[in-house]
Amino acid sequence: MSDIVISAKDLSLTFQTNDGPIHALKDINLDVHRGEFVSFIGPSGCGKTTFLRVMADLEQQTAGTIAVNGTTPEEARRARAYGYVFQAAGLYPWRTIGGNIRLPLEIMGYDKADQNTRVAKVLKLVELAGFENKFPWQLSGGMQQRASIARALAFDADLLLMDEPFGALDEIVRDHLNEQLLQLWKLTNKTICFVTHSIPEAVYLSTKIVVMSPRPGRIADVIDSPLPRDRPLDIRDTPEFIEVAHRVRDGLRAGHADD
């Protein structure tokens, strides 16, 4: 297997609407390597979510190519090569937390015993051990989102696509989940693509930050983070962190300057 998990070349996506075409993505070139944590940041309408959806075969590009694990996104989806975490936890109220995590496993045909061990394993991973038989409404928003991450981790996918998973949560819960997510990433060696519009979140989490600008959705800057892989929360007060955040902010501003 090659080291490159996602490879986009001259990728463009144009939506045809009644108000004329909308260039959601224009000439995107990007490689994501195995084990990287890549954040996509930009104002709304910059195409960051659309790009993630193209990777997941939830949208199709109108020009250019994209490869996921060396195949088309569709083949990757059929091979269940990625786990996708949406902005809302989207847990089924009629299933317990364990039942919700078991859902993709049932669909993918894992046997019962395997399902049970996997559910127990990922619940421990997201620190929800003991909540298997609780129902979603019995959990806080942050815990629900953790359960939805556990659901995406339960099956064998090396790639995790996350679309503003903590966007609806408050700052304190968010900090905690960011810390946990880094732990998870270290433990599981997954490749993570993470969409956000929070600069501190992007800088804190990522090994690579992709700054995007809107109309048409383009990549304004790609920043390889100089921060070490081990990141306590107070790394956010270091000069290196502040410098990277600065560069992200500059990239965002540059993208805004030409509209």
């Binding site: 996708y84 859902l103 979603p136």
Partner: protein, 291 residues
């Protein structure tokens, strides 16, 4: 408990209006009778007469109550609860046709809804017919269903159930199409990311999501089903059932009998809707979907 007072107020108001209506509507007959007999009626006498006529235009509540008791409870006490003169027997006849038609209508409605949701051709071709079917007055089509089915040797319970089905499948189709389409785009995308088959998406997401819509449709469907069964009994020559009692009552001007059959039908409908409501509450609560 705080609902008791307003509910009682409404009930009392209904009875007051009912008794007043009985006085107004039955007074001309009472006065006619008095004039022919050459008597002058005082107001209390007039009221007493309007509330105790044999064939009143509008029977008073206690007359209807007496009639219902005479044809139900009293019959049971005599050990003849299921005789042909008992309202329990007639209710049972209507009830069985209602339930058979309701089950058939629910199955038909659900199957059509599944087809409409999963098949674009069905979506575009079936729905207009479903709607058109309900614009035809059921009173016009009911005798034809009875006659046609009778001609092919089907009589008894099934023709009536068919009319019930004809009325009850409609709310089920409409509700279930909406219910099966109720999962959000995100939930459907999520299923797609897992490469779930259409059947897996149906059983695990669409069907459970449709339950609140399903139960609401069932409540409307069962009431429509009862109406269908009663209408189905009218053209059969008033053999048995609440519809037959209504028809026989109107032949012979037995308004008390008509009203007691009407009340019985209303009680039956209320009981069925209440039963479904109870199942709905229990099911949705256990599914974490209670509103």
């Amino acid at each position: 408990m705080r609902n008791v007072l307003p509910i009682l107020t409404v009930v009392v108001a209904i009875f007051a209006l009912w008794y007043a209506g009985a006085v107004m509507l039955n007074a001309p007959w009472a006065k006619d009778k008095a004039t022919r007999a050459g008597i002058e009626l005082s107001f209390p006498q007039l009221v007493a007469d309007t509330w105790s006529q044999q064939k009143p235009k509008l029977p008073a509540p206690h007359q209807v109550g007496e009639e219902i008791w005479k044809t139900t409870g009293a019959m049971i006490l005599k050990g003849r609860g299921f005789s042909k003169r008992s309202l329990i027997y007639h209710s049972w006849v209507t009830f069985s046709a209602t339930m058979l038609g309701f089950v058939l209508g629910t199955v038909l409605g659900t199957l059509l809804a599944v087809g409409i949701v999963f098949n674009r051709t069905m979506d575009m071709s079936v729905m207009p017919w479903v709607i058109a079917s309900q614009t035809i007055p059921i009173l016009a089509i009911a005798p034809m269903i009875i006659v046609v089915l009778n001609a092919v040797g089907i009589s008894g319970l099934l023709p009536k159930a068919m009319i019930s089905m004809y009325l009850s499948f409609f709310p089920i189709v409409v509700g279930m199409v909406k219910g099966l389409r109720s999962p959000s785009a995100m939930q459907l995308d999520q299923m797609r990311t897992w490469h779930a088959s259409a059947a897996q998406t149906f059983w695990r997401l669409r069907l459970p999501s449709s339950m609140p819509y399903f139960f609401t449709s069932l409540k409307i469907g069962v009431a429509a089903s009862l109406v269908g069964a009663i209408i189905g009994e009218l053209p059969t020559g008033a053999v048995a059932g609440l519809g037959a009692r209504l028809l026989a009552g109107s032949y012979y001007g037995q308004t008390i009998q008509i009203w007691s059959a009407l009340i019985m039908a209303a009680v039956l409908a209320a009981a069925l809707v209440g039963l479904i409501g109870a199942v709905q509450r229990i099911t949705l609560k256990s599914m974490g979907m209670a509103q």
